[in-house]
């Protein structure tokens, strides 16, 4: 039973502590404020009346930023978003601390900026705090209207007490009070009557003064409330502007990054395409060159064949004329061979065989010191036929190789005595 009561008391005590939380701090306005990030103390903010900033950047994500007084009271804090910005204004004794946290993939950063209250507000606040003899570090957000009323009432009470005390002292010290012509028995009444009258008058003046003071304070409070709301609006607008700017900047960066990436991709694509086209062109040029070489070789072969055919035709014509001359007068029943037909049929037959046995022509430069015997032996091995020698290039003709020309030429180049090979003149 006693234990239950003990627990219940403890629970009530904790709840009371939570209710008054920030008002419990016994620290002064000049005491440092400790900054905690992820529940680790990372530094202090000097609350000495000047604008100061504390900044920290860590490798890990920030979860919470907390502000604590020297006596450990939690004055304010901020729960950070997983990614991006968040700000909070924490009013403390009329001063303001702006917390700003930013989480990125690389880590988090936090900034705490202490801004002291404007001087007039500070004066009012100090007066209130002094009169109320209350704790100095009192967040404005926690200060309800009831507390304000109590503070003002206490201030007025203090003024009244001080006024009365001053009045009493002035009365006692006044020169007219010292000479007393009355008896001891009459003294209290005789002395108190003018005093009471005077006191009443002074109290009336004091009441008027108090009323004026209250009016002034109320006006100042209204002004301060308006000022605060304006500041809040201004700061929220500023925050919005800053966040918008950041968003725009991020978007621009994204776009820049995106466009840069696109340009690079496009360039890479175009370069790849150009390279492949170049390669294709080179291959086509090469194949055209090879085909051209072949055609020229064929033309050469055909010209040679043509020459041979012409010679044969001439020789056949001579033979025919001889035969006509020798056989003239003989009863020749047989018709002489058709001159025009024979060469044509021969030419056709030769051209067919030429197409089939078209020699492959190329030119070889032999290594220095290669003997003629070696060259002849090499030609024999290849079953080739030597052509003309022109400026160190030996023309070689062979029967069409069984392998493709390129491969065949590579094989030729592999021979020890061969220095270089080409297929055109």
């Amino acid at each position: 039973m006693a234990q239950d009561r003990d627990l219940e008391d403890y629970r009530a005590c904790l709840i009371d502590g939570l209710k008054v939380r920030a008002r419990r701090s016994a620290c002064g306005s000049s005491d440092p404020i400790h900054v905690f990030v992820n529940e680790h103390r990372v530094g202090t903010l000097d609350g000495g009346g000047t604008e100061t900033t504390f900044q920290i950047q860590i490798q890990t994500r920030i979860d919470t930023v907390e502000l604590r007084s020297e006596d450990g009271v939690l004055l304010g804090g901020l729960s950070a978003p997983e990614y991006g910005f968040r700000t909070a204004h924490i009013p403390i004794s009329g001063d303001t601390i702006q917390l700003r946290v930013h989480n990125t993939a690389q880590g988090g950063s936090a900034t705490a900026m202490f801004t002291p209250a404007p001087s007039s507000w500070r004066r009012i606040w100090k007066t209130l705090a002094a009169s109320a003899e209350a704790t100095v570090r009192l967040p404005t957000v926690m200060m309800g209207p009831r507390i304000r009323v109590v503070a003002v009432a206490q201030l007025l009470l203090a003024i009244v007490v001080v006024g009365l005390a001053a009045d009493r002292i002035a009365v006692w010290m006044a020169p007219e009070r010292t000479p007393s012509m009355v008896t001891q028995a009459e003294a209290p009444w005789a002395a108190s009557l003018p005093e009471v009258t005077k006191l009443e008058r002074q109290l009336g003046e004091l009441a008027q003064m108090q009323a004026r003071t209250v009016d002034t304070i109320q006006l100042q409070q209204q002004g301060m409330a308006q000022l605060q709301s304006t500041i809040t609006k201004l700061s929220s607008t500023q925050e919005k502007v800053v966040s918008n700017m950041l968003t725009v900047r991020q978007e621009m960066e994204k776009q820049q990054k995106g466009s840069g990436r696109e340009v690079r991709q496009m360039t890479r694509l175009l370069m790849g395409k150009a390279l492949s086209e170049q390669e294709q062109l080179e291959a086509e040029i090469h194949s055209l060159t090879v085909a051209n070489d072949r055609l020229s070789e064929k033309m050469v072969g055909l010209e040679q064949d043509n020459e041979e055919l012409k010679k044969k035709l001439k020789a056949a014509g001579v033979d025919v004329s001889k035969a006509v001359v020798s056989g003239h007068g003989n009863a020749t029943t047989t018709r002489p061979p058709d001159i025009g037909q024979t060469p044509q049929s021969l030419q056709a037959a030769d051209s067919r065989s030429n197409i089939q046995l078209q020699p492959f022509l190329f030119w070889v430069a032999f290594s220095e010191g290669t003997t003629q015997e070696s060259i002849d032996q090499w030609l024999r091995e290849m079953d080739g036929r030597k052509g003309v020698l022109n400026e160190g290039w030996q023309e070689v003709a062979i029967v069409q190789p069984a392998v493709p020309p390129d491969r065949f030429l590579d094989r030729i180049r592999e021979a020890k005595i061969v220095k270089a090979v080409r297929t055109n003149r």
Binding site: L7, L18, A26, E70, D71
Partner: protein, 278 residues
């Protein structure tokens, strides 16, 4: 009880602004405290650390209140939100950490609770940190200044720290950890009756608590060798390091106790000697 039910229904709703959050939560502090406490109890049960006694009940109440205090301050920046579920996630996040709090059965005795509460408070309050020099080693402000080798400017704060602790800090800490006057008196009596045994036990528990809470030191100030401490003292840097680490490490204070004395021979080698009252 019907009021509480009504509040729970409201707490499940969405609050749009930070002011709404403040208003709603301040009206339902008992509900929130119960919720945070029951979550902590469940955590202890599921990790096999729970026992049905007053010490455990007080322990979960204390930590429930700790979480709730942080939630009240940090949760308002999450608006719009659903406060009830936000609290659940907040507490769950704390419990998902490897060592959410310093738990050991020996720290649930009155002496253990007292020491745990003091050292835990020292992590978040400089007043409590400086007062720990007194409670653990019996030092006054001058001894603290001498042993940590502080300059004149820093020294002034030490006096203020001591004063605030004596004025309000100690009592508030005792209230928050649930130490009653009777329990405190019992500690004093035990200390007088069995000083050796009491101090031996106190040193053991202090070292245990220090080892846990030292993880909260700024940038994880590590232990240093005597020469490293000597360099720090002679070069005059690391005031915070010295203040934080030396009082939270019984070994390092033995190593570096005479480096900052500046010829002051009145201070002896510090040994753990518990002072219950401030």
């Amino acid at each position: 009880m019907p009021d509480r039910t009504t509040t729970v229904i409201r707490l499940e709703d969405v609050v749009r602004t930070a002011d709404e959050f403040d208003q709603l939560v301040s009206q339902a502090l008992p509900v929130f405290l119960d919720r945070a406490t029951s979550s902590t109890k469940r955590y202890l049960r599921e990790t096999g650390q729970w026992a049905d006694d007053v010490a455990h009940e007080k322990f979960v109440l204390r930590w429930g209140a700790e979480y709730l205090e942080r939630f009240l301050v940090c949760g308002r920046s999450e608006a719009p939100c659903r406060p009830l579920f936000l609290l659940d996630s907040f507490v769950a996040k704390q419990h998902s950490q490897p060592d959410p709090f310093c738990y050991h059965p020996d720290l649930l005795t009155p002496l253990g609770r007292y020491l745990d509460g003091l050292v835990a408070r020292a992590v978040i309050s400089r007043d409590a940190l400086i007062a720990l020099y007194h409670h653990c080693y019996g030092m006054g402000p001058r001894d603290v200044i001498a042993i940590t080798g502080l300059n004149e400017l820093e020294s002034q704060r030490i006096y203020k720290n001591f004063r605030r602790w004596r004025d309000s800090g100690w009592q508030r800490t005792m209230d928050e950890i649930g130490m009653t006057d009777v329990e405190l008196e019992e500690l004093v009596v035990q200390q007088q009756r069995h000083p050796q045994r009491f101090h031996h036990e106190a040193e053991r528990l202090v070292r245990f608590a220090q080892a846990h809470y030292r993880k909260s030191e700024p940038d994880h100030y590590p232990c240093l060798s005597r020469s490293q401490w000597g360099a720090m003292f002679s070069e005059g840097h690391g005031c915070d390091y010295r203040l934080w680490h030396l009082v939270l490490c019984a070994d390092c204070i033995q190593t570096a106790w005479d480096l900052g004395r500046n010829g002051d021979e009145t201070i002896g080698k510090p040994r753990v000697e518990l002072h219950v009252r401030p």
